[in-house]
């Protein structure tokens, strides 16, 4: 993704005027309550590709935005079960496997008899199964979270907007992206102004 500093004016080359792609429109609000009310209206207007940015977690904002619950927990549970299975198979295979492939290749594990325990004995396997469950759950939780959030990335178009930088301090923003099917630059700009935004600006990609 290319980034442009906000001060750079479009460069003309010959007769052609290169048009920069519009990333979206940011609307600035000064307090969370105004943001919540506006977010409610943006959701009702039917936008899909839009987001709210706040300096701190705002209770009830997810509901106002109509964000559905993530399926991350289900995926993590699946990853955990995979870990349990791998843990069992790994030990059962290395400790007790003994078979041939078409009577040509003999595959055997490394059977170890310890104090007369059977080769496949669950109590001894459980710690490894447990650890692999935790390992895969934790790694997949972090990994899938990064994936869902589109991370890692070097930059984001919004960071080129001077006004937007105050999002980490005391300003609240709604961003509607241009890829939204209901997005029309002028109309959406007016829509956001009508919601009571203190400032509305275009952001280029």
């Amino acid at each position: 993704m290319t980034t442009l500093s906000p001060t750079t004016a479009p460069v003309t080359q010959g007769n052609q005027i290169p048009r920069k792609r519009l990333y979206g429109i940011v609307a600035e609000f000064h307090d969370p309550a105004a943001l919540m009310a506006a977010a409610d209206k943006v959701r009702m207007a039917g936008f899909r590709w839009w987001d709210c940015h706040t300096p701190f977690p705002v209770h009830g904002l997810d509901k106002a935005m109509g964000i559905k619950r993530t399926i991350l927990p289900v995926l993590v549970f699946g990853a955990g079960l995979t870990g349990t299975t791998i843990g069992f198979c790994l030990q059962a295979f290395t400790n007790a496997a003994s078979f041939s492939i078409w009577a040509l290749v003999w595959v055997t594990g490394y059977p170890f008899l310890i104090s007369g325990k059977p080769l496949i004995s669950m109590p001894a396997f459980i710690p490894v199964m447990f650890e692999l469950t935790i390992l895969l759950s934790a790694l997949s939780a972090v990994g899938i979270m990064f994936l869902f959030n589109g991370l890692p990335r070097w930059n984001h178009p919004l960071l080129s907007n001077k006004r937007f930088l105050r999002v980490t301090d005391d300003r609240f923003f709604i961003v509607i992206e241009s890829r939204d099917p209901r997005f029309f630059a002028s109309r959406t700009e007016q829509f956001l102004k009508d919601l009571g935004a203190k400032a509305v600006e275009m952001v280029e990609a």
Binding site: M36, P57, V58, G60, P73, P123, P127
Partner: protein, 432 residues
């Protein structure tokens, strides 16, 4: 923070439950009557050791539940928790049961006074033990510096007095804050929660060693104190959930305890009562299984003989696998019907766990057999006593005392910590 904060009803009809005083008193009276009658019949029964074990089981059940309430209070204060202020009063009512549970120890004092403590604790009479098993008597004889009846009684008094004082301290200061609103009380409770946690850990661990582990005095496990502590959490958190859910069903605390608080109680129950229990129980089992030393494995052997094997498997599924799958979802912790079911289930599991810990006895003639199969065959008909009437009569008696006292305390103390500095934070608590 939300744009339209709901109005919270703090009128006395919502946060006072004066009507619970009378039923609470009646339940306590019935429970106490049942226990007294049961004791006078039980002490004349042919197998008094069995009766005392059932007594120990049900008495420890209500004790662990009350200790769970105390643990909740200690953790609340030590971590300066905000979310749990609205559910703290029910926990305080549960913890204040520790002010009567010492009564349940009196039968053991009585048998000690009669000189018959060995009827339940084999270490109390080494000569009798020698006649049954010389090896065991020799092992246990080396522990007399710790396992002797006088020191045993002194220790029991220390535990019971400590719990009495701790529950008194945490509950009375909180109740006094309702009228004087002093911030100093919150600070004092938070300051003393640290030492209280240490005292709590030491007393519960040693109580477990004394009252459950020493029933089989040759056996030992360093995990056992933690196992008992997890039992306290299981029972305590499950009972806090039940009390809160029932209070709301009766029309109290409307709009004060919300789905968000229930989800957190469910999380605690899931983490401590289900997962941590399995973790500790398995850690204890695996070390002993792996080392395979006869004096350690005998305890688990006793729990695999005859029908005890069924009890062990039921415990594994009932205390861990089924509740794990049931409570892992978010919605089962948030919907009241499923949470109530899970709480009742886990409370029953804690009682069943104590049954599993206390009732099986290691056969003294283990040495006479040459193989595990022979022992299994000989003890195949060992009955699990689960349907023994004492098991149920004593449970009902102690539960009536527990529920009755909890209701009485709730009606006398009010249902909400009105002047707690973190009340507002708790009222608008939300899981992110």
């Amino acid at each position: 923070m939300s744009a339209s904060a709901p109005v919270i009803n703090l009128s006395s009809s919502n946060i006072r439950a004066d009507g619970l005083s009378r039923p609470g008193f009646m339940l306590r009276l019935f429970g106490f009557a049942i226990l007294v009658v049961a004791f006078f019949i039980g002490m004349r029964s042919p197998d008094q050791g069995l009766f005392l074990r059932f007594w120990m089981q049900s008495w420890l059940f209500v004790t662990t539940v009350s200790l769970g309430g105390l643990f909740f209070l200690i953790v609340h204060h030590i971590s300066h928790a905000g979310w749990s202020v609205v559910v703290r009063r029910p926990a305080e009512a549960i913890a204040s049961n520790l002010q009567w549970v010492w009564i349940g120890f009196l039968p053991f004092v009585f048998y000690w006074w009669k000189g018959d403590l060995s009827i339940i604790f084999p270490w109390a009479n080494l000569d009798a033990l020698k006649h049954i098993s010389l090896e065991e008597a020799e092992l246990v004889g080396k522990k007399t510096a710790f396992l002797n009846d006088k020191f045993f009684m002194i220790r029991a008094a220390v535990y019971l007095v400590t719990w009495f004082v701790l529950s008194r301290f945490f509950v009375s200061n909180s109740v006094a804050q309702d009228s004087d609103g002093s911030m100093a009380r919150t600070k004092k409770l938070e300051k003393w929660a640290g030492p209280a946690a240490i005292l709590f850990g030491l007393t519960t661990s040693f109580a477990a060693f004394d009252w459950i582990m020493s029933l089989n005095p040759a056996w030992f496990s360093t995990m056992f104190g933690v196992y008992f502590f997890v039992g306290c959490c299981t029972g305590g958190f499950a009972y806090i959930g039940i009390v809160c859910l029932r209070l709301q069903a009766l029309g109290y605390l409307k709009g004060i305890i919300t789905t968000e608080h229930y989800q957190d109680i469910g999380k605690l129950l899931f983490a401590f009562g289900v997962v941590f229990w399995a973790y500790i129980a398995f850690s204890q089992y695996m070390l002993i299984w792996y080392a395979n030393i006869p004096e350690e494995t005998a305890w688990f052997l006793a729990r695999q003989l005859g029908e005890w094997r069924v009890v062990s498997v039921v415990l594994l599924f009932g205390h861990f696998i089924l509740p794990f799958l049931f409570l892992i979802s978010r919605w089962t912790k948030r919907w009241r019907g499923t949470l109530l079911f899970a709480c009742v289930w886990m409370l029953a599991s804690q009682w069943f766990d104590l049954f599993y810990l206390i009732q099986p006895t290691i056969p003294h003639d283990i040495g006479a057999y040459s193989s595990y199969e022979q022992i299994l065959a000989h003890y195949a008909n060992e009955s699990a006593h689960f349907l023994n009437p004492w098991n149920w009569i004593l449970l009902v008696g102690f539960m009536l005392m527990l529920v009755g006292t909890t209701l009485s305390r709730l009606s006398s103390m009010g249902l909400l910590c009105m002047k707690d500095p973190r009340l507002a934070e708790s009222l608008r608590f939300e899981n992110m």
